[in-house]
Amino acid sequence: MASVGDGGGEGLSEAPTQRDRDALERSAERADSKRGLLVALPAYAYLALFFAIPFAIVFVYSFATRSRTGRTVLEDWNFDSYARLGDPIVREIALRSLTLAVITTVICLLASYPFAYYIATRRPAIRNLLLVLVMIPFWSNFLVRTYAWRVLLGNSGPISQISQFFGGEEVRVLFTNTAVLIGLVYGYLPFMVLPLYAALERMDWNLVEAARDLYASGWTAFRRITLPLSMPGVVAGSILVFIPSLGAYVTPALLGGARTTLLGDYIVGQFLSARNWPYGSALSVTVMVVMLIAAIAYFRAGAKTA
């Protein structure tokens, strides 16, 4: 979380000789941080109410016990739910989700980079038009768009029909991991394009010319200059795609099959059908912690290369 409040943090370390100047600076800083807090207050309140408190409840529930009837008993605190995380079924589901999220991220990255590069190097008017086109899908509901994929990918859907028209076979992708992958890539592509565009749009193209002037070929200039300098966009986009892909629920539920349970499905199942809230909570907490660690590590690595 960004600490919006500590804007004037550098004044103190300068150690001015006069004591009253010191005090003056301190009180100015206090006033500054007070003002900053006031501005950030709505955001803090929102996060507390809709993130911190619910997460705390989930965290507490993960140590609770499930009664025989499926009620959650808030006593006899234990680690039983966490012990179950070692089950082969959990490992299988986690690995499948992870693989799918990684593949989704890589495909999004490979597809988005050239496109973001193309947008960033157009004239401003065309640039804005293309950006609007990227965002148009957001104008309609995600659920509706995912249902549309069910029609498109169905055994008698248009893709299958076109394939058959040209003498091919019936296309059977719906309710497979491939369909989930298509849905995820489709859904999260804009989250990759936009940060990449933002990074490339800030590029100083003089640097690329300088590299070319210093005997670098076009490809080398890209590899040594453009790519490293756009790393912040790559990192931000990857995280924005990877995290929701890992926890995706709607897309796998609508496009995936029964034998391809993913983490999101599995957790929802614990809460709704298995009525095992402590186990569901333990799964959620674990996924969150793992993602947090992964995100921090990735940001660090990205910051180093950039």
Binding site: E209, A210, R212, Y215, G218, I225, L229
Partner: protein, 355 residues
């Protein structure tokens, strides 16, 4: 006779409907410090970019030491550029920046180390080799940009207003340094600037550009003393431009019919402009004796401005308002507002140009 380093023949560049460079012919000699001077939008930077390879000419030929390079990409040209914005790679250290070109040319890595060290020492930045560009001052970044280009020992160094982002003091210091550096390394410099003082103080020769055309090429003194067009006269330094009509090959008539001696090859009756530098005028009392062979016109002092080392006089004459500059030293008489004076100048101090 020295060899030609860069030769442009009929080089033009169009961007859609806009003609940025309209047919330039230019030879720059080996080891020369050549400046392209002109206002912004005159095509000087486009010309430089065509020599560097960032733009390809729409027409014409560009040769570097005889080899046609007009359509070669920048990485295949034996030239290096110092950019106005320096364009240092922000994610590399100073040493990595300077070594980049050598690395691309696949020079052996210990050679790279030695040459980078020498190049950084040359610009007195040996101690900052591990710094990132953002940790350097503007002047230091400028030196790194120079070292990064010169370390490759290019046949021609192209400089695009490299001092533009520096403050005045630093700029003046760098002017001297750049010139000395150029004499030491002996590399041909092509220097683009809109600053006439920079061009005059550093260059062996100057090419003045306007609206995509090269108007005049010559040594600084030649450009300053003998402009061949109204634009060049006006653009370089301060100058009085007086409308005149040619009477015969040795005489022109200023406004008000006042005839003065001037050497002109133009047909009698041609409308011309007479260009005279303010410092070439001398002011005399009405009853003072005037040196023989000088041109003269009477006028009234409209304003006197004190600059410390010089006085500027605005003198109203029948030929128009004349600005004269006189040094502030003992023995030079000062005139007051409203005084009648004779403005005197030698015929050789006068350039007659057509518009």
């Amino acid at each position: 006779m020295t060899d030609t380093a860069v030769s442009l023949q009929g080089v033009s560049k169009r961007f859609g409907e806009v003609v940025a460079v309209a047919g330039i012919d230019l030879d720059v000699a080996d080891g020369e410090f050549f400046s392209l001077l002109g206002p912004s939008g005159c095509g000087k930077t486009t010309t430089l970019r065509m020599i560097a390879g960032f733009e390809f000419p729409t027409a014409g030929s560009i040769r570097i030491h005889g080899a046609e390079v007009g359509l070669e990409p920048p990485n295949r040209r034996p030239v290096n550029t110092v950019f106005q914005s320096y364009a240092l790679f922000p994610h590399m250290t100073v040493a990595e920046n300077v070594g980049f070109g050598l690395q691309m040319k696949r020079v052996a890595s210990n050679d790279i180390g030695d040459r980078v060290t020498r190049a950084l020492d040359m610009v007195q930045l040996g101690h900052r080799s591990e710094a990132k560009p953002s940790q350097l001052s503007g002047g230091q970044q400028q030196r790194v940009a120079l070292a990064r280009a010169l370390v490759n020992e290019p046949e021609v160094l192209l400089l695009d207003e490299p001092l533009g982002a520096l403050d005045l003091k630093l700029r003046q210091a760098m002017q001297v340094e750049l010139k000395e550096l150029q004499e030491r390394v002996g590399i041909t410099f092509i220097y683009v600037t809109h600053d006439q003082e920079e061009a005059l103080t550093m260059s062996d020769r100057i090419g003045v550009m306007s609206a995509g055309k090269l108007l005049q090429v010559g040594e600084p003194e030649n450009i300053y003393e003998h402009p061949t067009s109204r634009f060049v006269a006006d653009f370089i330094g301060e100058i009085n431009l007086l409308p005149a009509t040619v009477i015969d090959s040795g005489t022109v008539a200023l406004l008000g019919g006042h005839q003065v001696g001037a050497s002109t090859g133009a047909e009698p009756g041609t409308e011309v402009t007479v260009a005279i530098r303010p410092e070439r005028f001398e002011l005399y009392d009405l009853d003072e004796a005037i040196p023989d062979g000088s041109n003269r016109i009477e006028g009234t002092v409209a304003r006197r401005t004190y600059y410390g080392d010089v006085f500027y006089y605005d003198v109203d004459t029948p030929a128009g308002r004349i600005e004269a500059k006189e040094e502030n030293r003992p023995g030079v008489e000062h005139y007051e507002h409203g005084e009648r004076v004779i403005v005197v100048w030698h015929q050789s101090a006068m350039a007659v140009v057509k518009d």
